[in-house]
């Protein structure tokens, strides 16, 4: 009897905790935050589409892991990512620029392969912008 009560009791206790946790993850506030997150990534994707076409050989700027990872998420599914600029048709980069029509302060820009990635970019992503206040939900890893 004690074993049955202890085991069912433990399951019930943790089950109730899970109910609360599940409930807290489905609030309206959470939904709005994640809608903002989706809009941010959609914004970057539209900007990238304004610069390169599907299947194009793209080099992502190697400097700065966070922006590199962001760009890989944005274009990795529909372009061919190359590491050598000789094989690339364009080089993409994410720049922080709150003044432009940005996606929460980030803009996708294009440079010619082999250029030093400084100065004015060849093209600037367009078609979408999200000035927002820059707050995105904390993404659990």
């Amino acid at each position: 009897v004690i074993l049955a009560v202890a085991a069912v009791g433990a399951l019930t206790f943790v089950g109730v905790q899970s109910v609360h946790a599940i409930d807290s993850r489905s609030s309206q506030g959470q939904a709005r935050q994640w809608e903002r997150d989706g809009e941010f990534w959609d914004c970057l994707t539209i900007q990238a589409h304004s610069l390169v076409v599907p299947g194009e050989r793209v080099q992502i700027n190697q400097a700065g892991l966070p922006t590199r990872v962001m760009l890989e998420k944005v274009v990795g599914g529909w372009t061919t990512l190359v590491t050598d600029s000789k094989n690339a048709t364009v080089v993409l980069l994410i720049k922080t620029d709150h003044a432009r029509k940005s996606c929460l302060g980030s803009v996708v820009v294009e440079y010619a392969p082999g250029s030093n990635l400084h100065g004015r970019p060849e093209k600037i992503g367009s078609g979408a912008s999200d000035r927002g206040n820059g707050s995105l939900p904390a993404t659990p890893l």
């Binding site: 009897v1 074993l3 049955a4 202890a6 085991a7 069912v8 433990a10 399951l11 019930t12 943790v14 089950g15 905790q17 899970s18 109910v19 946790a21 599940i22 409930d23 993850r25 489905s26 609030s27 959470q30 939904a31 994640w34 809608e35 997150d37 989706g38 990534w41 299947g55 793209v58 080099q59 992502i60 590199r68 990872v69 890989e72 998420k73 990795g76 599914g77 529909w78 061919t80 990512l81 190359v82 590491t83 939900p137 993404t139 659990p140 890893l141």
Partner: protein, 541 residues
């Protein structure tokens, strides 16, 4: 097409693709539909492999693979039905079907619990890994062979983990191609429903444990108690499982799927009686686990070996088996032993097939020159000892359930071990070996793997321990059901329930691989005359 319509269409297609093989493998039960959906997902993974190696995109291959598997399964199903009809005029099949179909209360309890667990899908979250790995690779599979091959070999794809197993990505790619709704939202919803299907299949183990425990009872009240506790514990286990998964249950991550599928394989392969149906169920779940994530491959390999070992030992432990050489054996008994030998070989061949199946993707990825995974290649930082310390420190906070599971298992093993084996259930040691085997795979990857293990642990220990934590809760839930079913036995042991030696009960349950025992009056099984007779009944089915 809207996300809801696209979800219904996709899950419907998976279910239709998998229903005949699911019926052939696990028979009718409350979890058959869940297995059908999972088989559909496994078929997309096979389709993805064909797309990578041969041509086209995932969807055409999915149709071909699904049609082929359905035809083969239908052939075996018809053969089996014909055999049964010849034996008993078809009445047994109907009785079995009636006994297997779940009551409305069971369906309502587990269905509503799962619906509640999926409520966070209202929030359109897409996880970091989901966007960077699983959904990104789904785009490759949807775009077809040429693009897939180039992307697989591209050193520019730093974070996509090209060599990871394909199931999540191919299931999502198929949903996009089927519906034309190429959104991350749909991908996340499909992954969440696969998680729910695998969780339902695993929770069903606890319902089955309740039924097995109930079969030992001879009074309706006690039967109801055992079955009722089984259903309640299955619902609680579902809630606890989704609690362990946290936000990853509904944001497109792969960890919940491989973890709960592997735990389900422990349930069907190492806890429930080792009959054809349970072995088939564990094989499906092992395929899901092994085709979902690299940790799942290692864990599935360990579990295949354990399940094969348990099955072989359960055959060998029969007293009659040890007398195989005796010249005094009756002809029917000799025939039975010959059948055991054949069954053993079949088990070995089936285990080898599952082993090859789950190992095939890593080999294929290597043969196709997929970009080396950053988690499994490169130089190692730190010594094995320092990495082991870091690993144990990092995973311990996620395994507090062991403080409950270990004492429960110890007390249960000492006080109720006989009740458990008497109900035809496997020794708890098997489940613990499965848990420790899977955990060892994860720990050894952290200790012997490349790179900085501290960072690696920081970003993954909470997910890689999902398997061990869920398995420990399954162990607790099973003991809860066994203990509840044994309450009356402890107070007033009935001759009928205590007279059956564990081995005989186990073998009897093995013999009734298609659930016919559920239709027998309690105690009838113990009256079966001999082991040879039992095996003959089983093998002529």
């Amino acid at each position: 097409m809207s996300t809801i319509a696209a979800t219904i269409l996709t899950i419907g297609c998976f279910g239709i693709a998998g229903i005949v093989p699911a019926w052939a493998m696990v028979g009718p039960s409350g979890s058959t539909l869940a297995f059908a959906i999972l088989i559909g997902a496994v078929e997309t993974a096979v389709a993805g492999a064909c797309s990578l190696v041969i041509a086209w995109s995932t969807l055409p291959w999915f149709f071909i693979v699904a049609a082929a598997v359905t035809l083969v399964s239908a052939f075996f199903l018809i053969q089996r039905w014909r055999g049964r009809s010849a034996d008993n005029g078809g009445t047994s099949a109907l009785r079995t079907l009636r006994a297997r179909l779940p009551g409305a209360a069971v369906v309502a309890t587990l269905g509503l619990t799962l619906v509640w667990c999926l409520v966070p899908l209202r929030v359109p979250s897409v996880g970091w890994d989901a966007r960077a790995i699983w959904l990104l690779r789904a785009t490759w599979f949807a775009r077809g062979h040429d693009f897939l091959l180039v992307a697989f070999r591209s050193p520019g794809e730093l974070i996509a983990h090209a060599s990871y197993p394909p199931l999540i990505s191919t299931a999502v790619a198929s949903s996009w191609q089927l519906t034309g709704n190429h959104t991350e939202r749909l991908g996340v919803v499909i992954v969440a429903l696969l998680n729910a299907s695998a969780t339902l299949a695993t929770s069903w183990v606890i319902v089955e444990v309740g039924r097995h425990a109930a079969r030992r009872q001879d009074r309706d009240k006690r039967v109801s108690l055992a079955e009722g506790v089984g259903i309640v514990c299955a619902a609680l286990f579902t809630l606890v499982t989704f609690g362990i998964f946290g936000p990853f249950a509904t944001n497109g991550y792969a960890d919940p799927l491989w973890s709960v599928a592997a735990v389900g394989a422990i349930g069907y392969g190492l806890i429930l009686p080792p009959n054809r149906r349970n072995l088939a169920a564990s094989a499906i779940l092992l395929a899901v686990s092994g085709l979902t994530k690299t940790e799942g491959v290692g864990t599935a390999i360990v579990l295949v070996i354990l399940i094969a070992l348990r099955y072989s030992l359960s055959l060998s432990s029969s007293p009659d088996w040890h007398q195989e050489g005796s010249k005094e054996l009756a002809p029917d008994r000799r025939r039975g032993l010959g059948s055991i030998a054949r069954t053993k070989w079949k088990a070995i061949v089936a285990s080898a097939a599952v082993l090859i199946g789950v190992s095939l993707w890593p080999i294929l990825a290597r043969l196709e020159n997929a970009t080396r995974d950053v988690n499994t290649s490169g130089s190692r930082q730190g010594t094995w000892i320092s990495r082991a310390h870091l690993t144990l420190d990092a995973i311990a906070p996620h395994l507090h359930v062991l403080f409950i599971a270990v004492p429960v298992a110890l007390v249960g093993g000492v006080l109720l071990g006989r009740h458990r084996t008497g109900a035809g259930l496997g020794s708890d040691l098997w489940a613990w070996l499965g848990l420790l085997g899977g955990l060892s795979v994860v720990i050894s990857a952290y200790v012997t793997g490349p790179g900085n293990t501290a960072f690696w642990l920081l970003t993954s220990a909470h997910r890689t321990t999902m398997f061990a934590a869920t398995a420990a809760w399954l162990i607790v839930a099973v003991w809860a059901v066994v203990a509840a079913a044994s309450i009356e036995d402890e107070r007033a042991p009935s001759p009928q329930t205590t007279s059956a030696p564990p081995d005989r009960a186990l073998l009897t349950t093995m013999a009734t691989s298609d659930g016919e025992q559920a239709t027998n009056p309690p105690g009838k099984a113990t009256a079966m005359a001999s082991f040879g007779e039992v095996m003959r009944i089983r093998l002529t089915r």
